[in-house]
């Protein structure tokens, strides 16, 4: 463990009584509670912490905030490994393990730095020109090399052991940001009685006040306001909480980092919480980001934003250099210069303005700061880190002189954080006087206060915050407080002199070939912007995509405005004419885990389980996901494959009797005097003549004449029907029926109720099904006369009421039994038990599919949203005597075209050949275009002893007997198949009617 040579003996807001130990690239260091990883590394003089994205240049810590472009590191290990964390807002904790990234073998000796030698070719548009044009084949060759060489940290493939939560918040006034403006707004709104939530992304409130010397007037003010806020019951302050997005209707997205600042969350508490907040009004007080000035080699370690040096000194008691140069075009760096000088550094302040601010200059000189006005930094010197700067008069760039230094602070002015104000589409405006974008028209329900609104003086921030807080509370219906608020502050930091826009220093003969970085994170230089301009990518959206400017994890927060201004300069237009990019959430990187919250793994979506689920599980069912349903797919015996199993199940069912679970079918109870008329309108076939105690197969169309769904509906009583739908469309059919009754036909006296979950359903199919059920359900006459095909009966098994429908999906003599869901398991048990004498087999979804394909019944693969009733061989069902949904548009010319693909069966000419679902049907040898149709459902048919399939082929059964090719390109497979009738099994229906 080494001493920390750059740690100040006194001051700061760190807890010196709580030392912490951490590692960086395996080396052990010591810091204090209250440090960030960045401040602790700087205290030890660790200059290089990362390698740059493209050129692998050495990079140091550039900011003291979440806007950091350079100092991205990987944290943690195993499943907690987190790439691309910003060292600057990573709170230090005992045992923190951080590693540099994008370098090999190490950050100090990076072989990938050879990329820097290729800088002349790795310029803007390199990817497009090399890999999109005639040479695009090169991508295949070089992709892995480039992906390895250019990049950030790598995500882990291990499971994240931490948990994340979702929550909802409601308030009258949201205050985003707890700097002086935000705290003042919260106080004013809270005093008026409004429910206020204040969000601050840092671990403590205060914002820029924390960059003032500790225990000064800034701290006094903050303590006073915090005390008052603590006394207000309706104000909630959430620290470590970022407002990352503004959405419609006063909704905001928040991320609360509960336990990022410890090694692992205590107990089973969540690591982060993602909040959806709804408010009446939002006061945006998100502050401003300092921005850079571009000069040669401006990316050297040891170059930071001026305000970051102020933060290091006043928050963390770290002075990261002995000889400091500050380079500015505005007043704000003067305070930093004073603080650095008082902390013991030799400080020179270089101001591009010829006339420095008088009062600030006086204070600086008193502190021993040398001021050089009218000069700019042309270039930084030093290889591993900055060793000095070449400065020159702003109008004579070749007249340079050298200043030795080991720390350079840069201030190119301030960029208000207008993101939350722009997420809903409002555009910021360029203010020539402040040389920055300020909020323009506000989005509804928002106001801005403080630096994010262009107010850079504390007194103005506080005044704006108070006004905005009062106004927000008023808009939410809370009377204004009459009691005056003690909110003045004894700091006068109002700018004396206006900022002088100065985006980049000129080049001179000496610095011509050195890179001048605009976007540090993505290695975008002025040359790239010039190239984009020459090649016509002059609009900001094009510039951004061509150069990748502002597209890093920092979204160019410290660089975008300079890039805009530079492009404006090249074009000879005003900055406002170049525009700004669209601001989209999230404001800063958000962990996917937090957005997913608890909805991961088995909680990704609800599981729908049949009432007989436990039985299936206990009997070795293999499940298949069908929508949200977990359905038994097949019930393998020892060592049995899926194919062996479903063939056995289907064969046995056709031989004796089979039992399968049909509970997931959609079930809708239809009641009312107009129920028959209603069914007549929603189904293509007629329902008026269906007698009580009978069932009927029905087909529904959409309004455009395409088939929507099918199922059986039975008449339980005069005004009472029981409708079934396919499992997949159960929800959609229900919603559609409600729509029709509520909007189109409110005069019909009908009520529909979804009863899908209320009824368990099972099908008993096979030649011995009648014998089995007759022995089990004694109060029903199962004879062919007593319960004929499409008949309905009510019976009971002990106390279980059972609704019996004699319908058949398998083509066998078959019955569907329905009982209240709570009895489902017991009824199944009894049927299964009684089946022992009849060689009963339980079958799953796969065998069910086999039997329905053998029987030529259509299902989801055929009812695919493109097929008409005619296409599916169901056209004859459509009534011509009544109107129904889709009855008009099904007669469109296009839907009556005889060449439309229509349902057929196919089987391989060579019986041993296998078929593939999704194969394209083509005329023999003419494998072109979209072919003449496609294979929709396949199975091995135990009855036919070969593969069979349903298909949709142009011309349909007019092609019966023809031989065509089934082409499956993904396996380079062609099978000659014969077009046959789709009813492979028992075409006369003797079995199911028997």
């Amino acid at each position: 463990m080494s001493a920390a040579p750059f740690r100040l003996k006194t001051g700061g807001r760190i807890a010196r009584e709580r030392p912490l130990s951490f590692t960086f690239d395996g080396r052990r260091f010591e810091g204090f509670a209250g440090d960030t990883l960045a401040s602790a590394l700087l205290a030890h003089g660790v200059a290089t912490v990362a390698r740059s994205f493209k050129f692998h240049r050495r990079r140091g810590i550039y900011t003291a905030s979440s806007d950091e472009p350079n100092a991205l590191v990987s944290l943690g290990g195993g499943g907690r490994h987190e790439p691309n964390a910003r060292a600057t807002d990573t709170e230090l904790f005992d045992g923190l393990a951080a590693r540099s990234q994008n370098c090999w073998p190490s950050v100090n000796f990076d072989l990938m730095a050879v990329n820097g030698w290729f800088a002349p070719i790795l310029k803007a548009g390199f990817y497009y020109k090399t890999f999109m044009g005639p040479t695009r084949g090169a991508w295949r060759v070089y992709e892995h090399v480039i992906r390895r060489a250019a990049g950030l940290g790598k995500a882990t493939l291990q499971r994240d052991p931490d948990t994340y939560e979702h929550g909802h918040l409601f308030c009258d006034v949201l205050v985003a940001g707890a700097g002086p403006a935000g705290l003042a707004a919260a106080l004013a709104a809270g005093r008026a009685g409004a429910r206020v939530i204040v969000c601050e992304q840092q671990p403590r409130t205060g914002g820029q006040l924390l960059d003032q010397p500790a225990d000064g007037p800034g701290d006094d003010w903050r303590r006073r306001i915090m005390d008052e806020l603590a006394g207000l019951a309706t104000v909630r302050i959430m620290t470590r909480t970022s407002v990352f997005g503004a959405y419609d209707g006063g909704t905001f997205g928040l991320i609360e980092r509960l336990f990022d600042h410890v090694r692992e969350p205590p107990g089973r508490q969540p690591r982060q919480r993602s909040w959806t907040l709804r408010c009446g009004h939002a006061v945006i007080a998100t502050g401003a980001t300092e921005r850079a000035i571009v000069f040669a080699n401006n990316d050297r370690p040891g170059i930071m934003l001026a305000s970051a040096i102020g933060s290091m000194i006043n928050r963390y008691a770290v002075l990261p250099g002995r000889a400091v140069v500050l380079f500015t075009n505005n007043d704000s760096a003067y305070d930093v210069a004073c603080d650095a000088a008082r902390a013991g550094a030799a400080v020179t302040l270089v101001d591009v303005r010829r006339q420095p601010p008088a009062k600030r200059s006086g204070r600086c000189r008193d502190a021993g700061v040398a001021i050089i006005a009218g000069h700019g930094v042309i270039a930084a010197a030093g290889r591993k880190s900055v060793s000095g700067v070449h400065i020159a008069p702003v109008d004579a760039s070749d007249d340079t002189r050298f200043l030795a230094c080991d720390l350079l602070g840069v201030s190119g002015g301030w960029t208000p954080a207008v993101h939350l104000m722009s997420h809903r589409g409002a555009r910021p405006l360029y203010d020539e006087g402040l040389a920055c974008f300020v909020p323009g028209d506000m989005s509804p329900g928002q106001s801005a206060a403080g630096a994010c609104a262009g107010a850079f003086a504390l007194s103005a921030c506080i005044a704006q915050g108070l006004a905005a807080g009062r106004e927000a509370a008023g808009l939410c219906g809370f009377a204004r407080t009459r009691k005056p608020l003690r909110t003045s502050i004894e700091i006068d930091d109002a700018w004396e002199m206006p900022i002088e826009p100065y985006w980049a220093s000129p080049v001179n003969g000496r610095t011509k070939s050195a890179p001048r970085f605009v976007d540090l994170q993505n290695d975008v230089t002025i040359s790239d912007i010039e190239l984009a301009h020459r090649e016509g990518f002059v609009s900001l959206e094009h510039l951004k995509r061509y150069t990748t400017l502002g597209m890093g994890t920092d979204q160019g927060k410290t660089s975008n405005v300079a890039a805009l201004a530079l492009m404006a300069g090249l074009r000879g237009c005003a900055v406002s004419d170049v525009g700004t990019t669209t601001f989209r959430p999230p404001y800063m990187p958000v962990a996917i885990g937090a957005l997913a919250g608890p909805r991961v793994g088995p909680r990704l979506q609800p599981r729908r389980l049949s009432p007989m689920h436990d039985w299936h599980r206990d009997h070795g069912a293999v499940y298949i996901q069908a929508g949200l349903w977990e359905r038994p797919w097949y019930y393998p015996g020892p060592g049995e494959s899926l194919e062996q199993c479903y063939i056995r199940e289907a064969r046995q069912t056709r031989k004796t009797v089979g039992l399968t679970d049909v509970s997931p079918l959609g079930k809708i109870d239809v009641q009312g005097p107009d129920a028959a008329e209603f069914l007549n309108r929603v189904y293509i076939n007629g329902w008026k003549k269906l007698a009580v105690g009978k069932a009927r197969y029905g087909v529904m169309l959409r309004e455009d004449g395409i088939v929507a769904d099918d199922g059986t509906t039975s008449r339980l009583a005069d005004e009472h029907y029981f409708m079934t739908t396919t499992t997949a469309n159960a929800g959609a059919v229900m919603a559609r029926l409600e729509f029709l009754l509520q909007t189109a036909w409110p005069d019909l006296k009908v009520h529909v109720t979804s009863v899908s979950d209320q009824w368990a359903g099972m099908a008993v199919a096979g030649p011995r099904s009648r014998d089995l059920l007759a022995g089990l359900i004694r109060d029903v006459d199962f004879s062919a006369e007593g319960l004929p095909f499409m008949g309905l009966a009510h019976g009971s098994v002990r106390a279980i009421p059972v609704r019996i429908l004699r319908v058949s999906y398998s083509g066998e003599l078959a019955y569907e039994l329905y009982c209240p869901a709570g009895f489902g398991h017991e009824l199944w048990d009894r049927v299964f038990g009684a089946g022992a004498d009849f060689d009963l087999v339980v079958y799953g979804l796969e065998a069910m599919g086999t039997m329905r394909i053998e029987k030529g019944h259509v299902a989801g693969p055929e009812i695919d949203g493109r097929t008409s009733a005619g296409d599916l061989g169901l056209g004859r069902m459509a009534s011509t005597k009544k109107p129904f949904i889709g009855s008009v548009l099904m007669r469109r010319d296009g839907l009556r075209d005889a060449s439309r693909p229509a349902l057929v069966g196919i089987r391989p000419v060579e019986r041993t050949q296998r078929l593939s679902a999704g194969a394209i049907l083509c005329e023999p040898g003419r494998h072109e275009g979209h072919g003449i149709g496609h294979v929709s459902s396949i199975t091995f048919s135990p009855q036919m002893g070969c593969d069979i399939a349903l298909a949709l082929v142009s011309g349909g059964l007019a092609r019966e007997g023809d031989i065509v090719d089934a082409v499956f390109s993904m396996r380079d497979e062609t099978v000659a198949v014969r077009i046959v009738n789709p009813v492979f099994f028992d075409p006369g229906g003797e079995r199911l009617r028997g």
Binding site: D248, G249, G425, D704, Q742, T743, P883, L889, R892
Partner: protein
Amino acid sequence: MIRIDCPYCGARDHTEFSYGGDASVPRPDIACEDIKAWSDYVFLRDNPRGAHSEFWHHVNGCREWLIVKRDTATHEVAAVLPARGNMP
């Protein structure tokens, strides 16, 4: 997040609702046999930027179909009516 003030349930997040399309075009009577009338109803839709009248189904609430007057550019909701009795 759009907040929809269901006349039956109160203000709820739009995640409780499902979108049901344009509510500005009158639906032909079930007995209407005019292909053009049905084609216009099914296929011809404006795509306005600004005020729009549309169906939303309170599918995870009261299951009533509603007519929501929404600005497609700002997502501002001007009115929410039961579809019953307010059809175009």
